[in-house]
């Protein structure tokens, strides 16, 4: 009994060009002897040539303009968002730096309890009496540090991964 599945597999290998010369000859000899195998071969051949002649489907004429419109809208949206993000970071960084300096100046001379900048000291004392502002100062400082990490470490990685010509 002939194992047609195995033969089919071999026939497809023949069309894919995966058979050695000796295997090809053996296959063709078998086809001459067996009409059923020949019918399978012809059927595979017909399908193979039809699939090879298959042509790509075409999108509508507005396809390219659609892609460009999407890219443009995405770019605009992204740049707008990144501008806001940048401004936010700058504001946060500036606020945290001022607060950090202020706190430093206040606690600069803990023994005497005096400061070179009494006006600023008073201002910060008043400000930090409220826990909300103290927490805000710590939060800003933390975010500032995160921003620095983002810029230094992740930014460097991104630059390293930038595209090279193919």
């Amino acid at each position: 009994m002939i194992d047609y599945k195995a033969w089919e597999e071999r026939i497809w290998q023949y069309f894919d060009g995966h058979l050695a010369e000796s295997e090809k000859e053996a296959l063709l000899r078998s086809l001459e002897k067996n009409d059923e195998l020949l019918a399978i071969f012809e059927s595979c051949q017909s399908l193979h040539s039809m699939l090879q002649q298959d042509k790509p489907d075409q999108p509508s004429p507005s396809f390219v303009s659609g892609v460009m419109a999407k890219i443009n809208s995405t770019s605009l949206g992204t740049s707008g968002r990144s501008d806001w993000k940048k401004a936010g970071w700058v504001f946060l960084a500036a606020a945290s730096v001022i607060l950090l300096i202020s706190i430093y100046l206040v606690v600069k001379d803990p023994e005497s309890g005096t400061s070179q900048y009494p006006v600023l000291t008073d201002f910060v004392y008043n400000l930090t009496e409220y826990s909300f502002f103290r927490n805000l100062a710590w939060l800003s400082s933390g975010l500032f540090l995160l921003m620095m990490i983002d810029q230094v470490i992740i930014g460097t990685r991104k630059r390293q991964r930038s595209i090279k010509p193919v």
């Binding site: 089919e8 597999e9 497809w12 059927s43 595979c44 017909s46 399908l47 193979h48 039809m50 699939l51 090879q52 002649q53 298959d54 042509k55 790509p56 489907d57 075409q58 999108p59 509508s60 396809f63 659609g66 892609v67 999407k70 890219i71 995405t74 991104k158 991964r161 930038s162 595209i163 090279k164 193919v166």
Partner: protein, 155 residues
Amino acid sequence: MVYSLCFRIIKSAHLAEEAAQDTFVKAYKKLSTFEERSSLKTWLYRIAYRTALDYARKKRKEIHLDDGMSVQSNAQSALSIIEEKELTQMVNKSVARLGVDECTVVTLYYLQEMSIKEIAEITNWTQSNIKIKLFRARNNLRSMLEGNRKKLQKS
């Protein structure tokens, strides 16, 4: 070509166009993350394949193929007058009736003329798995076409 892959997976012209457009937008956005581990073509097709799969999953109810259009309409014409163009249409319809995996493999192998290795890079399947899918797909196509021919001969 990207559109063709999307169309064959999603089986809807309108959604395929959206998916193909999304593919290019994603590629544009992620261009900076492209590494030279594969070719740009393979990378682009990987994005297209995943995007098309996402669309196909989301719109499964809308995209299921209308069986009525595939065989019945063709059965009305006799085999003797079927020309090459009609045969090609028949093949296209048969390819569309394949499952997503088999359809993807056939499209990438024949239409995009990609090697098994390239298809493996796009789909993340093993090469032996792709060979099995290709074998099954072609056998299914062959039996579909044979079935069509017999119906036409009877009519």
